[in-house]
Amino acid sequence: MRIEFTLNSESVSIDTEPQRRLLDILREDFRLISVKEGCGEGECGACIILLDGKAVNSCLIPAGRIKGSEVITLEGYRETERFRILMESFEDAGAVQCGFCTPGIIMTVESLLRENSNPTEEEIKKALSGNLCRCTGYSMIVDGVVRAVKKVKNDGKSI
């Protein structure tokens, strides 16, 4: 099946099997290796990307579903101002250890912030319910997001 979609702000077109996982397309066809495979069944969140602005597990998305859609991976997102703020805040909070889960977490946080620019700690935890991290114990990650939200508030800019 011929599938056209937007990938990190560029129009792309591929000819592939419609049942193929978006995860494999991103990693193998486009070499976007920020997208990780952890569990392959939607539990861990390491493969989360933005599909039409919403965080989804790319291991559960068949290629035929993304026709005409907009896909953003960390490789595209890292060019943004919001990523810079998140990266700094994650560094300050010590929210990154091995880093395997981090791209998925950053994309989930972006999806949350698009819906709600001023989330509470509880809302942050709920949004991150589908991201597993075996290093940090989560509190530093939540702290990283809280810091980013505060930083933007203090700057007077909306995140």
């Binding site: 069944e41 939607g42 919403k54 597990n57």
Partner: protein
């Protein structure tokens, strides 16, 4: 062989459905897990996929003829964000899967998957949901308890697509929803329980009780409900053992990876007791 179809509208989808043996797929969060293989390998399906998640006629949440009408391809997060969604349905949905999965998973998928542990099902049974099934011949409406026949088995015909769900507008004085699982998120139900009641002057005007994951499909008995409806609060406490006995006969759980039949039976009856002898009082 054609491996998938991506129709532009419902009419085209129904034509494809009639002419071909296909697997309709919307959110895909169950199907893609069931058919997964090793990393890098394409999931293998027995029949071509019919992508329906993007079809406009299957989307949207609105009030129509005094009933709530939910498009079958509405995602769980769309339902959570919508002010029309009944709060009891929101409660059940917010305990399902995780945030990114809820961006994909659809209510129509939860119904057609017909898992005994599908968490929207006890709510839809208690709210007297009616399903709208489309085919080229037109539409038919069927109550959810007549649609689901057993684990993974439904009344969906080979030429039909679940178009939407209709829910009558109810107001309840109280509802009691409990999901018993291994954690607050990403866990599948060991048991789920929903009790709804309307109480006027100490008498039960209306009551609806549904149990999930304790039998091949949701347990709801209109017969037992009508017997409870004749009672006042005190009588319910006195009659509780008889009511429990009646439900006990309908609750037929299994042992599986998530729980045991014994645990499911004991705890589901305790939830019934908590609802009838504490919450309703």
């Amino acid at each position: 062989m054609v491996k998938a179809f991506r129709p532009v509208n419902l009419d085209e989808a129904l034509n494809i459905r009639k002419e071909n043996r296909v697997i309709p797929i919307a959110g895909g969060t169950d199907l893609m897990v069931q058919k997964r293989r090793w990393a890098g390998l394409t999931p293998s399906f027995e029949y071509p996929l019919l992508f329906i998640g993007h079809i406009e006629e299957l989307r949207g949440i609105r009030i129509q003829d005094d009933r709530l009408r939910i498009g079958s391809a509405s995602s769980f997060n769309e339902l959570l964000e919508n002010t029309l969604t009944p709060s009891v349905l929101k409660d059940a949905i917010s305990g399902m899967a995780s945030y990114p999965i809820r961006n994909m998973a659809t209510i129509g998928g939860n119904i057609c998957n017909a898992s005994p542990a599908g968490d929207t099902l006890p709510v839809l049974y208690s709210l007297d949901a009616v399903l709208i099934l489309s085919s080229l011949k037109g539409e038919r409406r069927i109550p959810i308890e007549e649609f689901i026949k057993g684990p993974g088995i439904t009344n969906l015909k080979d030429d039909e697509i679940l178009k939407g769900i209709e829910i009558p507008q109810y107001d309840f004085d109280l509802y009691f929803y409990k999901k018993v699982g291994i954690g607050k998120v990403t866990s599948l139900s060991k048991i789920s329980f929903l009790g709804l009641a309307n109480i006027t002057d100490d008498r039960i005007k209306d009551i609806k009780v549904s149990f999930g994951a304790v039998a091949p499909s949701v347990v709801r008995s209109r017969e037992i409900e009508s017997r409870i409806k004749e009672l006042d609060r005190e009588e319910i406490v006195k009659e509780f053992n008889n009511i429990k006995e009646m439900y006990s006969e309908l609750i037929a759980p299994i042992d599986d990876a998530r729980s045991t039949a014994h645990y499911r039976k004991v705890i589901s009856l305790r939830l019934l007791e908590a609802f009838l002898t504490k919450e309703v009082q």
